[in-house]
C-alpha cells in the first residue's frame, strides 16, 4: 500500500517541481544581462569606486557619458571607512580607476598608504585648494557636509526651555537626558562629533567633556538611522530626545509641504566639517578616464546636483543651493575642523579612549 502511495507521490511531485523550476530559471540573474566590461580594457569604461551612499542623478551621469564617450561604472563596497580600508587592501589590484567619497577622517591614511596617484584638476578653483589635504594633490575636494547637533524646535517651545547653542551647553543639567549621539567606532557622524569635541576642547579637554556629557545622560546608539528615527523627537520619529546628532543638511527634509518654518534646526556652533574627496587610484587601468571623472565631479552639473542627490554641499561656493537649503540649511560659517594628519595619527586611540570613558 505504502509502495503505491509513494509512487503516486513521486509522480504528483514532478509537475510541481517542473512548474517551479522552469519560470525560475527564466528569471535568473546570472547571464540576465551582459557583464559590464572589466576595468582592464581601458578603452571605453571608467570604474568609479565609491561609498554606499553614492547617488548622482541619471541625467547628469548620462551627460558625462555622452560628452566623453566613456561608460561610467560604479562600485560601492561599503561605508566610508570600509571603502578606504578596502582600497588599501587591494592596492596591488585596484578595484577601479577613480575613487570618490574618501572623507576628512580617512584622507591622510589613504594618501600615506599610497593608494592614490597625484592629479591636479584644471577645474579646481580656490574652494578646492582651500580643502587640500597635502601639497601633492593626491585628493581633490568635491563636497562638504557638516555634522551638527539637530534640535527639535517644537519640543523646546513646548517645554519652555531655551535651546542650547554650544557644545558646552550640552553638559548643562538643564539639558539632562535630552541628547542622543552615535558611536564613533561604528558610525561616521559619531566619529565626526568626537572630533568636534577634540577640535573645540583640545587634546587635553575632550576627555573631561565626555565624562561630563556621560554624566549628563547622553545616549549613545550605534547608527544614525537608529538615533534619528527612534530616539529623536523630531517630526519623522517618535522618540523622546529633542537633541540628535545629524547633519546641517537634515532640517530641510523635515519641512512639510507648503510650510515656511522648519520644525528642526542645526546648532551651527556644534558642527564639524567633513570634506569628501576624489582621487585617481594608483595603478588605474584607465588613468585618463579617471582624471576626466575628477574634472567632471567639479563641473557645475555635478556640483549643483549634490545637495539634491547626496545631501551634501558643493565644494564650489559659487554654485547656488536649492531654495529649501538656502532657507533652512545654511552652511555654518565657522565649523570646527581638525588637521587630517592629526586625525589619521590619533583616530584609533581617541576612539579607544572614548569607548573607555563613555561605555566602560
Amino acid at each position: 500500500m505504502a509502495r503505491i502511495a509513494t509512487h503516486h507521490r513521486t509522480r504528483r511531485l514532478a509537475p510541481y517541481a517542473a512548474l517551479a523550476v522552469l519560470p525560475l530559471a527564466a528569471c535568473s540573474a546570472i547571464g540576465a544581462d551582459p557583464e559590464p566590461a572589466a576595468s582592464g580594457d581601458g578603452a571605453g569604461t571608467v570604474v568609479l569606486v565609491t561609498h554606499d551612499s553614492f547617488a548622482l542623478s541619471d541625467d547628469v551621469v548620462a551627460a558625462f557619458e555622452a560628452e566623453t564617450g566613456l561608460t561610467l561604472e560604479t562600485r560601492a563596497p561599503g561605508d566610508g571607512g570600509a571603502l578606504v580600508n578596502q582600497l588599501i587592501l587591494t592596492k596591488d589590484a585596484p578595484l577601479g580607476d577613480v575613487v570618490y567619497g574618501i572623507d576628512t577622517t580617512f584622507a591622510s591614511r589613504a594618501i600615506a598608504e599610497g593608494v592614490l596617484e597625484p592629479y591636479e584638476s584644471p577645474a579646481a578653483g580656490a574652494d578646492v585648494a582651500a580643502h587640500a589635504v597635502d601639497d601633492g594633490h593626491h585628493l581633490t575636494a568635491v563636497d562638504v557636509g557638516d555634522v551638527c547637533v539637530n534640535v527639535d524646535h517644537e519640543w523646546f517651545a513646548e517645554a519652555g526651555v531655551p535651546e542650547p547653542t554650544t557644545l558646552a551647553d550640552l553638559t548643562d543639567p538643564a539639558y539632562r537626558d535630552l541628547l542622543v549621539v552615535t558611536n564613533p567606532a561604528t558610525s561616521s557622524p559619531g566619529l565626526a562629533f568626537l572630533l568636534a569635541t577634540v577640535a573645540e576642547l583640545g587634546e587635553d579637554g575632550w576627555e573631561q567633556y565626555w565624562t561630563a556629557l556621560r554624566d549628563n545622560g547622553v545616549k549613545v546608539v550605534s547608527g544614525w538611522s537608529d538615533a534619528y528615527y527612534v530616539d529623536f523627537s523630531g517630526p519623522s520619529s517618535e522618540g523622546e530626545r529633542p537633541l540628535v546628532l545629524s547633519y546641517a543638511s537634515s532640517p530641510p527634509s523635515e519641512v512639510a509641504e507648503g510650510a515656511t518654518q522648519a520644525p528642526t534646526g542645526a546648532l551651527l556652533d556644534t558642527c564639524f566639517r567633513q570634506v569628501e574627496y576624489a582621487g585617481v587610484l594608483a595603478g588605474a587601468a584607465n588613468p585618463d578616464g579617471a582624471r576626466q571623472v575628477v574634472d567632471w565631479l567639479l563641473s557645475q552639473d555635478v556640483q549643483a546636483d549634490l545637495p539634491g542627490s547626496m545631501y551634501v554641499y558643493p565644494v564650489d561656493t559659487s554654485v547656488p543651493l536649492p531654495d529649501a537649503w538656502a532657507q533652512h540649511a545654511p552652511l555654518p560659517a565657522e565649523p570646527l575642523t581638525l588637521d587630517p594628519a592629526l586625525i589619521s595619527e590619533h583616530r584609533d586611540a581617541w576612539i579607544e579612549r572614548w569607548t573607555e570613558i563613555v561605555i566602560g
Binding site: 509502495r3 535568473s28 580600508n85 587591494t90 546608539v221 527634509s253 539634491g308
Partner: protein, 581 residues
C-alpha cells in the same frame, strides 16, 4: 513500517546478480563526485578567501609568520569580556528559541486548523527583514516611548536576546516542525494507552525521536546567535559587543587584520566546538524514523471532548510568542509605513514605483525587488544542489570507519559558513578574487558572485533541513533495494527522493529567504546600478525625512510579504494532502 521499494521491477537479469555486485569502482566514482562538487564549491568560494584573509593577519611585516597578535589580543580583558558576552547571548538566545519554538512547531505542524499555512509563512518573515529595519522596529517597541518601554530592556542583554529569538524562532519552528510532521504518532498513542501521562509520553517517546532535529535547529540557532551582527550592533546599544561586531569594527574601521584574524580563529574554534557537541547529540539519537501513516494531523480542538491539554498549552505559548514577540515589532513597521507626511495612507506604497524623495535611489523599489528575486533564484538553485548533495552524502553510513569519519567531517565543514563572519568572507573575496588561483580573471565585480556568496550562507540551512529526514530513512531499505537488484540511481530515486522531497520545500524556502534578506556579503559586492531590496532599504533609512523613512518601511513590508509568499509556495512543493508516505 512502510517500505518504499522500486516501483518498476528491476530488469530480470540484474535481479539475478548477487548483492553488492554493482561495480564498486563506479559506485565510488559516483559518491566521490557527489562529495567533490560541494567541496570544490566550498573550497573556492569560502575556504580560499577566508584563509587568504586570515593569512594576512598572521603574516608579519617581514613576510614571516607573526603570532604576536595572538598573545596581544587574548591578553586584553576586553577580548574575554566580548567572548563571554557572545557565549552568554548565544546560549540564552538558543535556549529561549527552543523553549518557545517547540510549542509553536507542534501547533503549526502537528495540528490542523484554519490559517495554519498563513501562520507558518508569517513566522518566517522576521528571519529575512534587514537588521536596520528590525533595529528601528524593535527599538521603537522597546525604547522608553514604545509600548514595551516600561520593561526597560532597551539596549540591554535582554533586549538583544529578545531580538535573537525574534530572528531565530523560524529556524526552530521550520526545522523541527518539518521533522515532527513526519513522525508516527502511534508510538506516543501506545504509551498513552499504556497509562503514561501526556507529559511523560512526550518526554519519553516523542522528545527522543525529535532529538536529531532539535540538535540540528539548536546548532543553527546557536551559530546565528553567536554571529549575529546587525541586531547586536543596533540593539546592544554599545555595551554588548560580540566577537562578530568586534571583527567588523577591527576590519572595516581600524583595518587591524591581526586582531580580526585572532578573533576569527577564536570564533571558528567556538563554532567547531558547538558543531561537535551538536553532532554528538544527533548521532547518539539517530535512528530510522517511524513515518506518519496515511492520515493528516488531527484537528485542533480547544473545547469539547477532543480537547487536549497539550494543545491548550501550545496555543497559549504560540499566542504570546506570535503576539508579543513577532506581531508587535512587525506591526510597528506596518503602521509606520502607512504614515505619510500628509497623513495616513498608502502614499509610501505608491512611492515604491519611484526613486524616492530627492532622488534617493538610482532604481525604483520594484526594480530592486526584481533584482533580489533574480539573485535569490540563482542562490537557491546553487544552495539546493550543493546542500542536497552534501545531505545525500552525509546521510550515508558507510561501513569503513575512515569513510564514516569523512562523512561526518563533510557534514561539519558545511556548517562553518554560518560561523564565520561575513566581513571576513567579504574582505577575503576582495583580496583573492582579483586573480583567483592565478587566473587572469577579475571576479570581484562579477554579478555572479552575489548569488554565490548568498548560496554559501544558505547551503548549511539546506543541509540541516534535508539531512535529518534523509538520515531517518531505514538503511535496510537501501540494502533490500540493492539485494533486489536496484541500481544506486534507482535506490536514490525510489527510496531517498520521496523522503527527501518532503523537506525540500523547507530547504528551498529557507534558501530563498536567506538570499532575499541577505545583506552582509551583498553590501560588499552589490553594484549600485543593481541594488537589491535590502540595500535599497538600507539606503532609504540612511536619509533624513519622513518621506524616505516611510518608503523604507513600505519596502520592508514588501520584503516581508515576498518572504511569506515564497515560504507559502515552497510549502506547496510538498505533495498535497498532508500525507507523507
Amino acid at each position: 513500517m512502510s517500505a518504499t521499494l522500486p516501483a518498476e521491477p528491476a530488469t530480470p537479469p540484474r535481479a539475478l546478480v548477487a548483492p553488492g555486485a554493482w561495480p564498486v569502482a563506479r559506485r565510488w566514482v559516483g559518491w566521490g563526485l557527489a562529495a567533490g562538487l560541494p567541496l570544490l564549491f566550498l573550497g573556492v568560494f569560502f575556504a580560499y578567501p577566508v584563509l587568504a584573509l586570515l593569512r594576512l593577519g598572521f603574516v608579519g611585516d617581514t613576510g614571516g609568520p607573526d603570532l604576536s597578535g595572538v598573545a596581544d589580543v587574548l591578553g586584553r580583558a576586553r577580548t574575554w569580556r566580548i567572548i563571554g558576552t557572545t557565549l552568554g547571548q548565544s546560549v540564552v538566545g538558543t535556549a529561549l528559541s527552543l523553549v518557545l519554538g517547540l510549542p509553536v512547531a507542534f501547533l503549526l505542524h502537528r495540528r490542523e486548523f484554519r490559517g495554519r499555512r498563513a501562520l507558518r509563512a508569517f513566522v518566517v518573515v522576521p528571519f529575512v527583514l534587514p537588521t536596520v529595519v528590525v533595529g528601528v522596529a524593535f527599538r521603537s517597541v522597546l525604547a522608553d516611548s514604545g509600548p514595551l518601554g516600561f520593561l526597560g530592556i532597551d539596549g540591554t542583554f535582554a533586549g538583544v536576546v529578545a531580538a535573537l529569538v525574534f530572528f531565530n524562532l523560524a529556524v526552530v519552528v521550520r526545522t523541527v516542525g518539518g521533522f515532527w510532521a513526519g513522525l508516527d504518532p502511534r508510538a506516543e498513542q501506545a504509551a498513552r494507552a499504556l497509562g503514561a501521562s501526556p507529559w511523560r509520553a512526550f518526554r519519553h517517546v516523542t522528545l527522543p525521536a525529535l532529538t536529531p532535529a532539535i540538535a540540528s535547529a539548536a546548532a543553527i540557532v546557536f551559530l546565528f546567535c553567536a554571529t549575529a551582527f546587525g541586531v547586536v550592533l543596533v540593539l546592544g546599544g554599545t555595551g554588548y559587543g560580540t566577537v562578530e561586531t568586534e571583527i567588523w569594527v577591527q576590519t572595516t574601521q581600524f583595518l587591524d587584520l591581526r586582531a580580526a584574524a585572532v578573533l576569527s580563529v577564536v570564533q571558528i574554534a567556538v563554532v567547531a566546538g558547538c558543531l561537535l557537541l551538536a553532532g554528538r547529540a544527533r548521532s547518539s539519537r539517530e535512528r530510522a524514523l517511524q513515518l506518519l501513516p496515511d492520515a493528516g494531523p488531527p484537528r485542533l480542538a480547544l473545547r469539547g471532548p477532543a480537547r487536549r491539554r497539550g494543545d491548550v498549552l501550545a496555543v497559549a505559548v504560540t499566542a504570546v510568542v506570535v503576539g508579543v514577540l513577532l506581531v508587535l515589532p512587525l506591526a510597528t513597521v506596518v503602521v509606520r509605513s502607512l504614515r505619510t507626511p500628509t497623513g495616513w495612507g498608502l502614499g509610501n506604497y505608491v512611492a515604491l514605483g519611484t526613486t524616492g524623495g530627492a532622488n534617493a535611489l538610482s532604481v525604483t523599489v520594484w526594480e530592486a525587488a526584481l533584482t533580489s528575486v533574480r539573485i535569490a533564484v540563482d542562490a537557491t538553485v546553487i544552495a539546493v544542489v550543493v546542500g542536497g548533495l552534501v545531505a545525500l552524502v552525509a546521510s550515508r553510513r558507510p561501513r569503513a570507519p575512515g569513510a564514516r569519519r569523512a562523512v561526518r567531517v563533510l557534514d561539519a565543514l558545511f556548517m562553518l559558513p554560518l560561523g564565520v563572519s561575513a566581513v571576513t568572507v567579504g574582505f577575503g573575496f576582495l583580496v583573492t578574487f582579483d586573480r583567483p588561483f592565478g587566473l587572469d580573471l577579475d571576479l570581484r565585480s562579477s554579478a555572479a558572485l552575489i548569488p554565490v556568496a548568498q548560496a554559501v550562507v544558505a547551503t548549511p540551512l539546506v543541509v540541516r533541513s534535508v539531512l535529518p529526514v534523509l538520515r531517518a530513512v531505514d538503511t535496510r531499505l537501501h540494502e533490500a533495494a540493492g539485494v533486489l537488484g536496484a541500481t544506486p540511481a534507482q535506490v536514490l530515486r525510489h527510496v531517498d527522493w520521496p523522503v527527501a522531497a518532503r523537506s525540500l520545500g523547507v530547504a528551498v524556502g529557507f534558501a530563498f529567504a536567506v538570499s532575499l534578506g541577505e545583506f552582509g556579503a551583498t553590501s560588499f559586492l552589490a553594484r549600485p546600478e543593481r541594488p537589491t531590496l535590502p540595500v535599497v532599504i538600507f539606503r532609504l533609512l540612511g536619509r533624513p525625512g519622513a518621506e524616505n523613512l516611510g518608503m523604507a518601511l513600505a519596502a520592508a513590508v514588501l520584503l516581508g510579504l515576498m518572504t511569506a509568499l515564497v515560504m507559502g509556495l515552497a510549502e506547496r512543493l510538498r505533495p498535497a494532502g498532508g500525507t507523507e508516505l
